[in-house]
Symmetry: D2
Subunit: 376 residues, 4 copies
């Protein structure tokens, strides 16, 4: 694997590296870790890379690696840059014949996203978008249970993602993460709703298998001087009649990454909360609520859930393990594809990424139209 | 105290009686417990009442008691009937010189509510509306902390009240509670949003001291054959700039009375959950979240919270104790008023009741207008 | 009901009064609330009692009431004094023909307890010991499940009762509760282990139906100057082969009344925690753990649990409601007995009280013998 | 790193590999994964190892690697075999000049353990024992707080490790993990108390810095046919006067790896629970309990805790991350040592391992002597 981005001061780059390393299936062999060649070098050294394969920029990396013999070149590219630098390296990598795994949201704009869908299709390459919350074993369990009809027809979805870290004007302090995420030239047209609202949207659709038909949104910017939204509340209507509420916030002071989802059907309900990710609360109308627990051992869990766990229940797996599941599955699919074998994709794709961008568009438009319903 | 309603099969009548009895300050002395005189008698007997003071209907009760010498008559009237039978006994009681404590929502319609506001004012009598969740010690604590500025300016409120008991077409089974609550001739123009949505609205305004300026709502009726809404999602905008989300649902299968509120300000946040009512989570941006615990003993709690507790922390107080607080405070205020002493009202009033009715109107109107913003 | 003790500054007297009042079945008609006649009068006034029935001491109360016509006298006596004043009023009340409800532990010494067992038996009166934790609906549920064999043969019991309120030398401050509870002339030979350890012992035997055969204990007094133990750890062996651990502590700083019990059998397990008393965690080896929830409505609960609840699930009932269950059941049994009808006793009795005293003896003896095993 | 053990069907071997891989600091370069050379080969292949460095047994591995040029040989040995195969490879590795990281408990017997202490000392090599629970950020935080005196003098420790997986006679089914852990020829003289009781013992001493002075134990074997204890309860007395309770169980049906510790001092208390490892409950006598949350970001956490976290709060880290911390720290210390720089050891050592073996001896002896106090 070769990496684009993730140099000093980056947050998500290191997450991707640990996620890729965990299962011993993927080796980081090269990278263009920063737009500053000196910083890229530094990063490469600290990662024990061959200095020759630490590149000054992504173009150099992709083109040089492409020129290597097949057995010597990187197998795929991991893109972990801010949103505005997703499109170009993804496009170049795909068109150079490399499979790509990329951080979310897919791109800076919906136009870019639509073009990427085409490029993926034309290239025949594989593309994984790291909506990492889909990698949790109990999220897989939830999806499997909905799919199997255990909840009956879905009626209501409540998905939320409150954070508190942007309660103050942190971007004025030089904090790098706050900086680009609140900067419309890097993040795109949305702040909070793009950064974490898309996770909530993706999680709701991933678990329920339902598509949002239309939405009505009210975005806010509470912190003075901030250039993008830092809070958003959205009413949802799904195809097929289910209703929903989605909210995301970065001014929910004292909250961490409190992404939580509740799904209610005619026959049963589910509740999952990322801060205690190994538990899935399963609800029924008649019996007591049940605590399903992630692990490789419980016979009552689905195979989808078992596959996403590494350890028996009682050995908590967390954020990195869930993230690593996407890498592991991506690597498995690549191997099967390379061996000409059939494969199934369980990770989020470029189409999910396009959907996220359309969600951002719809939320922003609805909010501009004083919360009018906007089709997705 | 004399009671109107609360005969065999009633739910809330018994709650009111236990709440009134708990602190040994109030004695039930008479009642018109049912529109069926026979059932009223039966109820009176089981309550050890003097048969002469068990009446066939509320008119008889109020007029007969009024005719008794002052020292012998009931001190006030408690009204625990379904919504459509709030107005008439309240009006008669007030106009007959009795103070009134009445279950929520205030009335069948906003017109009735507006008239009741006038009647209360003209009568000079005291009126308490049993929005019982306001009686919890930690709700009082939350209100006191917001008022004292400990959270800074409020930015965001999330209040929810999911229940699951009406996930099926229960009203067709003859279940009495389901019957009248889903019947527009008894409940009024709203189902879920009137029955429990008003609790959520009241709790949000009670704690924050903010008024909802406008709202955008999406009501649903998920259960086929049901005549009123059984689920509603509402975006809120408060005067002063805070935003909010309110949702109430009776089809959230597996949920009980999961009323929960989260309040986020510039400096801190609060979270309270009725199923664990003795804990208030207090959040700050810098330090760890704190678990404030209800009780008479903790020096860090406000006097408002201490006053609403009976026992030191570790002796859980619940729903009935919170309900009893309204009765206890009502009795205290009556006593002070009767003694000509100054008093402060800490329980919900007829104005809060009118506000609840206007909230129902606005939600229903907004939903009819496809979630357009409607002023409250 | 007439009350002995519970005057100004008392804690448990008020608890008993609220518990007795809650269900509208019991009326406080007289009392000897303090050994100081003036204070007793004061208490009686604040409780709206007929001044003639507020007595200067328990002898006066019991003898005067006995002399009243049957229809006019109190029905039973409630004794809420410190431990050293349990025996005399209980004996006099029983021998005067009154039924008795008494706070725990039963008496100052085992000798007194043994005599009380005899007196109860000879008097033919009913006696209830307020081990109030047995009144919780989910404790009743737990007992019913064990009895029905749902856990299989019991193997292990862990029962604990950590408190923190005596972490400092509070008795030196004049705090009344701390004063008598740490005073061997009032509390008896044990401090913590008598005050709360007996609750733990009783709860374990109540739920499991097992009897402690022998125990090995290690008592400590951590606070300098304290005259009795403030912490104790006990290994348990039950008749039939189950093992257990019991610990009680009053120096567990930051803990409230964190009484918790876990029971493990061959087929299943149970966990209950008083700070969240409406939930019973039910464990099995195969399926997910389940959250049983107290309430009148859940069909999966036992009748014993239903009978101990007043409200449907979601309306938290607490400490006072559990306490009130003992009063309610005591009153029901009295009524049935008076009507010559058959009755079943579900509340703790004088035999349970004697058992508690023997437990105290055994713990103290074992601790003196450096934790040697001592039979109970 | 070269690995001894961890072939097909092993549980802990894979844990060690993932833990070693996570941070990109350690590479698995060789192994003797099974006593069956064929299985060892298989394992090596699946791990992408050079077939020449997949050895038939640990002797071959250690001696062959030793014969390689320094730059080409493995840096250290990881030993992940059952208890009875800890001693021989550890001894050989140390005496061959390799540093060693080894799973717990240290050895099959105390004699072996004492010899290993000597060998480590004589060899001058580094040795890490993977008492993995010490790797959790909030365990480090707890230790740091105790050390800094924030709790005052420690009075009471309650540490427990209930599991339910051996509630039935699983070893008769051929399940490999159950097989060796209940076999006295592989596990040693203790079952449950050796396998998980030592974790509890180690955790208590690690956090508090206190040493167990003496203990009184009651071991049980509940499952018929089982050859070793499956449950144990232990009273503890620490040097300096603190008291404690330790219990471990493998028949606590429905429990996972519910290791939990509570520490109470004169000024404050702590509670940590492995199933929710990112929270540390911090208790005080006066203020509300606080929820300290693991992460790299919270300024209120100690540097020891920060160093053990990889991500800001809200990104749950789990069992593997804690395990990986020991590997990461071991690698750091090796690097510093190799560079001749000063270093500090934060991971458990061979002395801790010897202490664990003595704990096992004392528990078994005390239990044989009917719970007499035995010095450690």
């Amino acid at each position: 694997m070769g990496m684009v981005g993730g140099g000093p001061g980056a947050f998500i780059g290191n997450v991707h590296r640990m996620a890729a390393a965990l299962d011993g299936q993927i080796e980081l062999v090269c990278g263009a870790f920063s737009s500053d060649p000196h910083k890229s070098k530094e990063a490469g050294e600290s990662l024990f890379l061959d200095p020759k394969r630490v590149y000054a920029n992504f173009e150099e990396m992709i083109l040089t690696e492409k020129s290597l013999p097949e057995s010597a070149r990187m197998d795929f590219v991991s893109i972990v840059t801010p949103n505005h630098v997703h499109f170009a390296p993804t496009k170049l990598a795909l068109e150079s014949g490399f499979d790509v795994i990329c951080d979310k949201p897919l791109s800076f704009s919906t136009e870019e996203a639509e073009e990427l869908v085409k490029i993926v299709s034309q290239s025949g390459r594989l593309f994984c978008l790291t909506h990492n919350y889909t990698g949790y074993p109990m999220v897989r369990q939830a999806k499997a249970m909905v799919k199997a009809g255990e909840l009956g027809k879905i009626r209501k979805v409540v998905v939320e993602y409150p954070q508190g870290w942007l309660s103050s004007f942190l971007e004025s302090s030089g904090q790098k993460q706050a900086g680009w995420r609140t900067d419309p030239t890097k993040s795109g047209k949305a702040g909070c709703i793009g950064d974490i609202g898309t996770h909530a949207e993706n999680l709701a659709e991933f678990i329920t298998g339902l598509e949002i038909k239309e939405l009505a949104a009210d975005l806010s910017t509470f912190v003075e001087g901030r250039k993008l939204d830092d809070d958003g509340s959205v009413l949802l209507r799904f195809k097929g009649g289910a209703k929903g509420i989605l909210f995301a916030s970065q001014i929910s002071i004292g909250d961490e990454n409190n992404i939580r989802i509740r799904v209610y059907g005619e026959k049963g309900g589910l509740e999952w909360y990322q801060l205690e990710p190994n538990t899935l609360i399963v609800k029924s109308g008649d019996g007591p609520n049940q605590l399903y627990r992630a692990g490789t051992n419980h016979a009552y869990l689905s195979s989808e859930s078992h596959n996403a766990a590494r350890l028996p229940a009682g050995h908590p797996e967390g954020f990195l393990e869930a993230f690593a599941n996407l890498y592991k599955e991506f690597a498995q699919v690549l191997r099967l594809r390379n061996e000409g074998k059939p494969f199934q994709i369980s990770f989020p794709t470029v189409e999910d990424g396009l959907r996220g961008m359309k969600f951002i568009d719809a939320v922003v438009l609805s909010s501009e139209k004083n919360s009018a319903w906007v089709s997705l």
